[in-house]
């Protein structure tokens, strides 16, 4: 029976190939859009355990324009509930939304070496500490730019030496290049802005106090020359990613529309292929095949279209995402798009279910057909 259904697809090879291609494209779209959505969700969903705050210059939305005096560090550290403060200078090669941005993060070298010791080898860390122009780069950035330790690379006018790769779980870190704060300030000076940083990365002692600490920081600098806006890290990412989130939501709608297209495509293909088959179904019934057999045959043919097409589309989507290793970056914030087996499998599963559903009515009609009517058609 199964082989008869497979053969069924060969009746009209061109039509079957076109339908399979259509299903594959639709599932590809869906899976890719969903991968983007999951990337955004991962970067912006605030966990209840969140302890990270970003202190930014008030009303500034780009690393170029957010300028804060490095001296704020001590004041922030004194605010109750603050566990640690890291001044960070960010230089990006492109401030707009883009898929290939290098984000330099200038960090105080010694503190960083201590706090991130677990994310690279001691040799790499000491090499990084020794050379003032060296960078530790996130895995994703390294793969995207094909960089390995010992390479030199230039971006955003900053010329750095790759000391090693940093293995970090944080999406932000994965597409960043960490350099010595003083080095980056020097590089970016060009007119006496030394001692200026882009933001402060603050950790709080208690996740429940996150908002409280954020308010305290902003209040402290409210009347200062450079007032601040402090947000949870995920909120900071979400704000920077607003435009992208709208785009991703649009892509999601497209993806769902694509799945509706799967349903329509398969339903259409099955209805068409059954139209000329009344006679053949009557023949099968004459041989003794029951309504149940006929219905299964039709359903299986629909299922094949969905699963083969869906499998191809999902595999291509997974492969493309894995190969491209893209991160969407805007305003110095990166959102990685991770390849996901789960998303690919979901895409295939949805295509299977939709194609089965598309086959249900033709299957019922075919199984109810009376033999004599089939022969007279």
């Amino acid at each position: 029976m199964a082989s008869l259904a497979c053969r069924g697809l060969r009746r009209r090879p061109i039509r079957s190939v076109l339908v399979l291609a259509g299903v594959a494209v639709a599932v590809f779209l869906y899976c890719t859009a969903d991968a983007m959505r999951s990337g955004v969700e991962r970067a912006t969903r605030s966990a209840s355990s969140e302890t990270a705050l970003i202190v930014y210059r008030q009303n500034r939305f780009c690393p170029f324009t957010s300028q804060l005096p490095q001296s704020y560090e001590r004041a922030i550290a004194r605010i109750p509930g603050v566990a640690s403060v890291v001044p960070v200078k960010i230089v990006v090669s492109n401030c707009r939304a883009s898929l290939d941005v290098v984000t330099f993060r200038g960090v105080p070298a010694k503190d960083f070496a201590t706090s991130h010791a677990a994310e690279t080898s001691p040799e790499t860390m000491s090499r990084w500490l020794q050379r003032s122009d060296s960078a530790l780069i996130g895995r994703e950035l390294a793969e995207r730019r094909k960089l390995k330790p010992g390479d030199r690379f230039t971006a955003a006018g900053v010329d750095a030496y790759v000391a090693g790769i940093l293995e970090s779980e944080t999406p932000q870190d994965q597409s960043s290049a960490f350099v010595h704060l003083s080095f980056l300030q020097e590089q970016a000076k060009r007119g006496g802005t030394g001692g200026v940083v882009t933001q402060f990365d603050v950790r709080v002692t208690d996740p429940l106090k996150l908002d409280e600490v954020a308010r305290a920081i902003d209040k402290h600098f409210a009347n200062d020359e450079s007032p601040t806006t402090t947000r949870a890290e995920t909120a900071h990412v979400a704000r920077a990613a607003t435009d992208v989130i709208v785009l991703v939501q649009f892509a999601e709608v497209l993806g769902i529309a694509a799945l509706v297209a799967v349903f329509a495509l398969v339903a259409n293909a099955i209805v068409l292929s059954m139209r000329n088959r009344e006679m053949e179904i009557s023949v099968l019934q004459t041989l003794g095949f029951r309504g149940m057999h006929i219905g299964m045959l039709v359903l299986f043919e629909a299922f094949l279209l969905g699963s083969i097409g869906g499998g191809i589309g999902a595999a291509f989507s997974y492969g493309a995402i894995a190969l491209a290793r893209t991160a969407m970056t805007m305003e110095g914030v990166s959102i990685a798009i991770p390849p996901s087996i789960a998303i690919a499998l979901t895409g295939v599963a949805i295509a299977n279910v939709l194609s089965l559903l598309a086959g249900v009515i033709p299957a019922i009609l075919a199984s109810r057909q009376t033999i004599v009517m089939g022969f007279r058609s």
Partner: protein, 233 residues
């Protein structure tokens, strides 16, 4: 009562169709009894109800009234799926236009009805080979229907009909679409199946020459039985 030598017995068999609010009497009070192991030719003008009667015998259509026993089974009381199961065992059907499944090879077409029987792959292989051999088409087993001539297609169709060793072989104008030579060899084949294997055959035909292969002639006209005669014994 049921006589084991009788394979088809019908009494007062009626078939009506409704067409445009009008009732068409296709078959009227048919009384007939056919012997097991016989070779019967069903004749009559076009539209006289030959195909309809054959379909009733095959259990693919239902009578409007009357009784019908085929191979010891009262067909008037079976459900749709019971009828299908019964057909798989008792009936072999040969169509005028062969009706092979175009995407299956000759071998696979013949194998198809065996999937409804509880059989191992090797048992099926044995049966299919035997049937292909009986119709003399073993060398074409890997061909698709479109690669075969009409006569060869009809041989494959006959192999498909006899592969389950049915009690009755029903054939609706099996040579109606063939040229004279092909028709003659198909008739020779049916004759051989009857004489050598004792296959019960009921065949519809227009052609008096074709009918001479049968033992018994049944004539229909306007849905009524007009004549039933022995050609030879």
């Amino acid at each position: 009562m049921h006589n084991p030598d009788t394979i088809i017995a019908c009494h007062n068999l009626e078939k009506h169709y409704e067409r445009g609010g009008e009732i068409v009497h296709v078959l009227e009070s048919i009384d007939l009894s056919l012997a097991r192991g016989g070779f019967v030719a069903l004749m009559g003008p076009s539209g006289s109800g030959k195909t309809t009667l054959l379909n009733l015998f095959a259990g693919i259509d239902r009578p409007t009234a009357g009784s019908l026993m085929v191979d010891g089974q009262d067909l008037t009381h079976l459900s749709r799926s019971q009828l299908a199961q019964w057909r798989a065992v008792s009936i072999g059907y040969v169509f005028q236009l062969y009706h092979l499944v175009p995407v299956l090879t000759a071998y696979e077409n013949v194998e198809l009805p065996l999937f409804l029987h509880d059989m191992s792959r090797s048992e099926r292989h044995l049966r299919v080979s035997e049937a292909l051999d009986a119709v003399g088409i073993t060398d074409r087993h890997a061909h698709y229907p479109r690669q075969l001539s009409g006569g060869q297609e009809q041989r494959v169709a006959i192999a498909r009909a006899i592969v389950t060793r049915p009690a009755i072989l029903l054939a609706d104008e099996p040579t109606g679409d063939l040229d004279r030579t092909a028709a003659a060899s198909i008739m020779e084949l049916l004759g051989r199946l009857h004489s050598e294997k004792g296959q019960t055959i009921v065949m519809v035909t227009h052609d008096p020459a074709t009918a001479t292969h049968a033992q018994r002639l049944v004539q229909l006209d306007k849905g009524r039985l007009v004549e039933s005669s022995m050609v030879r014994s």
